[in-house]
């Protein structure tokens, strides 16, 4: 039966392999370029000495030079759903659409065994391709991650929504989930093109919901008490606000015009606005700082420490793999009752 699965999905597997080879070549070439540039200009060593302001120019040059490669990161986000659309949706839907299940399900192989082999083969190929690619992309991204971490001072750029999804083990989970979703929708809808569209929509929906609403809460965030307008907590900031001794709330990272009136009331001589430029800026900053201290203004942040990054990766991976297993199980259970 493994021969049958291979023979049926041969073309898809080869197209996928070709695509990955092309992308892999691109990743390899640009990755080596980036890595070389990262080390030879001294940027790598510079960043290691943390928060050194003089690395900014170098990091600027680096980001500018490899800016277009960043656009490619977007492509990699799309790859997992392609597995679902082109490999998962046609798996059962194509047979139903063309009526060949009348040939397949009247040979001496039970429907469940037939399906298990097909899904197993395509699933294994997806997992393998996903793993290879995830490794490659993680390596490729590592200089970019380090530079971004440096530039935004958080030490946890990898936690950011756009970057978390490309790095580590989660892409494999996404690919397996997309495959299973395509399989299930293909089975239910019975036509390939609508199933592909539904898979795309469903995948996007689930990913957006998990990313925006579930991910910040995998583990209860830590709360930090920080200096107003000072450095952020070392990690992924989920929510932040500022509060003074009287309990009045402010925005986390800035003050609005209405706030200025409030401060003037408490600290006479509070400087005009946030946008003071030039030599007066230092004096203004010192005055503002003194006022903040007097008012007891500090920032409260809910954040996920950078040390939890890999835990979060594995949790999200497990969620998507769990969903995939549930979907596949559903189809295997229902396949025996599918009318034709």
């Amino acid at each position: 039966m493994i021969w049958v699965a291979w023979r049926q999905h041969r073309q898809q597997a080869m197209a996928g392999a070709g695509l990955l080879a092309l992308l892999g070549a691109f990743v390899l070439v640009t990755g080596l370029q980036m890595s070389h540039s990262f080390h030879s200009t001294g940027l790598a060593d510079c960043i290691k000495i943390s928060q050194n302001p003089s690395c900014f120019d170098l990091s600027d040059a680096f980001m500018r030079r490899f800016g277009s490669e960043q656009v490619f990161a977007i492509l990699f986000v799309v790859l997992p759903v392609l597995a679902g659309m082109f490999w998962g949706a046609p798996l059962v839907a194509r047979e139903l659409e063309r009526g060949t299940q009348r040939l397949a399900w009247t040979q001496s192989i039970s429907r469940r065994r037939w399906l298990s082999w097909k899904v197993g083969f395509v699933g294994a190929v997806t997992a393998l391709a996903g793993a290879v690619f995830a490794l490659l992309v993680s390596w490729w991204m590592s200089p970019l991650l380090k530079v971004t971490s440096y530039r935004d001072n958080s030490g946890a750029a990898g936690f950011r929504p756009g970057l978390f999804d490309l790095h580590g083990v989660v892409p494999i989970g996404y690919a397996l989930f997309a495959l299973a979703l395509g399989l299930a929708l293909g089975h239910v809808i019975g036509k390939v093109l609508p199933a592909m569209g539904a898979t795309l929509a469903g995948f996007i929906g689930v990913r957006v919901i998990v990313e925006l609403f579930a991910r910040p809460h995998y583990i209860a965030p830590k709360i930090a008490n920080l200096r107003f307008l000072g450095p952020d907590a070392h990690g992924w900031t989920i929510k932040a606000y500022s509060i003074d001794a009287s309990g009045r709330r402010f925005a986390a990272n800035g003050i609005s015009p209405s706030d200025i009136t409030y401060f003037r009331a408490h600290c006479p001589g509070f400087p005009m606005g946030p946008g003071v430029v030039g030599p007066k800026a230092d004096v203004a900053a010192k005055l503002a700082d003194a006022c903040y201290t007097r008012v007891g203004l500090h920032t409260i942040e809910a954040y996920q420490p950078a040390s939890r990054y890999w835990t979060f990766q594995w949790i999200e991976f497990a969620i998507f793999v769990g969903l995939a297993i549930a979907l596949v199980g559903f189809v295997v259970w229902r396949i025996n009752r599918t009318a034709s």
Binding site: R7, Q8, R98, Q101, R102, Q107, S108, I109, S340
Partner: protein, 305 residues
């Protein structure tokens, strides 16, 4: 002795429409049976249930003593060729034989290869490039290579030219005789089946109108031609159990009847029925669609001339 295929009050409903109603029959082993009926009668539904592709809404069906497709062993004892001979279009003939090998327990691949070589069907071309007749022969070879005890075919002759039909039926008969396979094939081309089948089932509007060995049926039915009977009420004709169909042409009347005794009335001339007569007569019953009734009268009118 269990029949090859048995049904008790089998019924199948799709949404609001009943595709099959109250079908009961026993197909004995070793028969070559024809399942005949107009389009939409429910032939495909019946076959799909027998093969495990559909579940019945009511009633039960037994195949070779067991439930259809209940396990892999049962699947291996029943062969099926679906309507329009679905094949994997981008598989070559050799690929399809390999496919059969990998998905079946008993598989006689050499038989399939020899069979197709004898018919000069190329094995290295994709199935989508073969003609209708070649595809049908390929599908049949695959079904036979499985060495089934029961072989079901859904309108296998529909898209074949007369020569291809003859070849197909020839292959089927040879193998059925040699390997003692019970065959049930559905069709609406009656004349071809006459030569080949020894058992007949007539399905119309989801109901089984008739089922029996052709020899017996021919014995039990006659065509009677005689003078047109006047008056509304007709006297019973002695020897006739049931008048299945009657048609009038000029001053003559033609009846297709089921007999239970000798016909002694000299007014009536007796003729042997053909399979077509029987089929048309039973399809012309109240249940059958109006089209078939017209056909029956046209045939009878031609005969009377």
């Amino acid at each position: 002795m269990a029949g090859a295929l048995e049904a008790q009050s089998l019924a199948k409903r799709y949404r609001k429409k009943w595709a099959l109603q109250d079908c009961s029959f026993v197909l004995p082993k070793g028969r070559i049976a024809a399942l005949v009926g107009p389009n939409g009668a429910g032939k495909t539904t019946l076959l799909h249930i027998a093969v495990g592709l559909l579940e019945p809404t009511a009633g039960s069906v037994h195949v070779l003593g067991g439930k259809p497709a209940e396990n892999e062993e049962m699947l291996s004892r029943v062969g099926f060729v679906a309507q329009d001979t679905p094949l994997y279009d981008n598989f070559t003939g050799a690929d399809l034989i390999s496919f059969g090998y990998h998905t079946n327990r008993t598989w006689d691949g050499e038989f399939a290869q020899e069979r197709l070589a004898a018919l000069q069907i190329p094995l290295d071309q994709r199935a989508s490039t073969l003609s209708g007749g070649q595809r049908a022969q390929l599908a049949l070879a695959l079904a036979l290579a499985k060495r089934p005890e029961l072989l079901l075919l859904d309108e296998p002759l529909a898209s074949l030219d007369p020569l291809a039909r003859r070849e197909f039926l020839g292959t089927l008969m040879e193998s059925a005789a040699e390997y003692e396979i019970t065959v049930l094939l559905s069709s609406h081309l009656i004349t071809d089946l006459e030569r080949v089948c020894d058992y007949l089932m007539i399905l119309s509007n989801g109901r089984l109108q008739l089922g029996g060995s052709i020899e017996d049926l021919v014995e039990q039915h006659r065509v009677l031609i005689g003078p047109r009977r006047t008056g509304v009420k007709h006297h019973a004709i002695s020897g006739v159990a049931q008048v299945l169909d009657e048609s009038v042409a000029g001053r003559q009347e033609t009846l297709v009847v089921r007999v239970d005794g000798p016909i002694i009335d000299p007014k009536w001339e007796e003729y042997e029925v053909t399979l077509e007569d029987i089929v048309l007569a039973y399809l012309g019953q109240k249940d059958a669609p109006a089209e078939t009734k017209k056909n029956v009268r046209a045939v009878a009118a031609r005969k009377a001339q």
